[in-house]
Symmetry: C2
Subunit: 288 residues, 2 copies
């Protein structure tokens, strides 16, 4: 067994207090897109694995944790989601889970970095699961902020699938953007986003939560462990009209069945009903 990290695809936390890595079998690509450093490798544990600007993004082996966590609490809480916007999400994983809900007439994915889409089509095919060629899906290379500002449409669900707020994604974690998002929601509209790790980045988590509260009335964070991110991650459910804690497992089960959603590996109606009960160490970070 090797104990030398040169054989591992490594990530070092921004402040250098934590590192973790996965045994690398083969480097598939290393270079730059227009916006970001990109690195693709096959790892023993999770198969094809993507890093952007030095941070793990997704992998074939464990992507369901992240994609199910971001998609299904929001989609299942909406009584009839037809029009969905994904900001970011160029790997197609969120689109794949959204398309499982047969109520959805169209999902638009607005991804800033066309390079991510191209590399995902080539190296991460399993993640998109056919969504790149699905007629109900539209992939647009665009700045998500600009896209939504220019859009005259309203959406039932908006899913915000961004990299950390230290790179090009930062303005999309700030209040003006959240207000624009709010203006593009239908009645019963729901937003869900990845909102950073509460244990390793408590300040960033609190900051994102505070920004959301300045734009929206009802903000419901939830947490799930994401193997590729090396830690417990947070997501946030936002809606002016729908309280995700009030849905029973029976209703959620009915919706999954009617909409033809199958083969979930993480999400269940029972998990949904307990999802918004946060431990005190997380509650403390949002009581500001």
């Amino acid at each position: 067994m090797t104990k030398d990290t040169k054989d591992f695809m490594m990530e070092y936390e921004e402040e250098g207090r934590y590192c973790f890595g996965f045994k690398q079998e083969e480097l598939l690509y290393k270079g730059k897109t227009k916006y970001q450093d990109i690195e693709l490798a096959r790892t023993t544990l999770f198969g094809n694995t993507l890093k952007l600007d030095g941070f793990f993004q997704t992998s074939e082996g464990e992507e369901f944790f992240y994609h199910e966590s971001l998609t299904h609490p929001a989609l299942c809480a909406h009584p009839n989601p037809k029009r969905v916007l994904v900001i970011g999400g160029g790997d197609g994983g969120i689109a794949r889970e959204v398309l499982q809900h047969n109520t959805v007439e169209k999902v638009t994915v607005a991804e800033l970095d066309g390079g991510v889409i191209e590399f995902s089509k080539k190296y991460l095919k399993k993640i998109a699961g056919g969504s790149f060629t699905n007629k109900r899906a539209e992939f647009i290379v665009a700045d998500g902020k600009q896209y939504i500002e220019d859009s005259k449409e309203k959406f039932d669900v908006i899913l915000i699938d961004l990299t950390d707020p230290i790179g090009p994604a930062r303005p999309l974690f700030e209040v003006p953007f959240y207000k624009t998002v709010k203006a593009h929601l239908n009645k019963n509209g729901i937003v869900a986003l990845q909102s950073e790790p509460p244990i390793f980045k408590p300040k960033v988590f609190s900051w994102v939560n505070g920004n959301l509260r300045k734009a929206f009335k009802n903000v419901f964070p939830y947490i799930n462990y994401i193997p590729l991110y090396g830690t417990m991650w947070s997501f946030t459910f936002v809606s002016e009209n729908i309280d995700p804690r009030k849905l029973t497992a029976k209703i959620l089960q009915k919706r999954l069945k009617e909409r033809g959603v199958k083969n979930l590996k993480w999400y269940t109606p029972e998990i949904h009903t307990g999802l918004f009960n946060l431990p005190p160490y997380v509650q403390k970070l949002i009581k500001k």
Copy 2:
């Protein structure tokens, strides 16, 4: 920021597919006890941190995840826990949480490795939180298996806080030991144990679960992310008479209050009520 793992206190997964580490400020001790390699260091993220035989065990900064996860679901599910046995747990963290329940008349900690107790008293004082000198606590240096075989006592709750089943702890994950444990439970008796990580060691998790099912009728696994273990971990609640899923948040809240349990950072009655709803990827591993 350093990107060289020589500055980190590292752990390499047994099969070498995953590694992770914490920035090390100062090495406090490195040597051997009678049974195990021991390494103690101060890390930036979690303060004083203990490794045994190369695997992270506990740290001052995040120990509550593990200790609360193992202790409170079992103690709160018991209507009146008076006599508690901890097998392993020489750092005193489990004893500390058990002693929070003022119904407990005596907790006995049977730790194989006296060296762990000594090093914990010196370097991990915060974890024991006074339990080493508490009159209701008794720390014994003994093989947990031998201790319970020789004991004529019965217990309300038995908490099994062991290292991985690859070292000296292995026989304490096997069916004969579980049968002995069962024979030492009072009516309404409850056992809880750490039962290995379902994602990184699915076979070991399934094996432990199968062994428990051979000895006990009702086996309820649950999961929680443990920062120092670098992943989602599993615990298992076992009882012949008590179903931990049937307790309401109201009953659990009443018990916490009456018993004087305070300052919890992870456990809440609401979390308890959702705790045994497992995601399909974990359910799959126990449907054998």
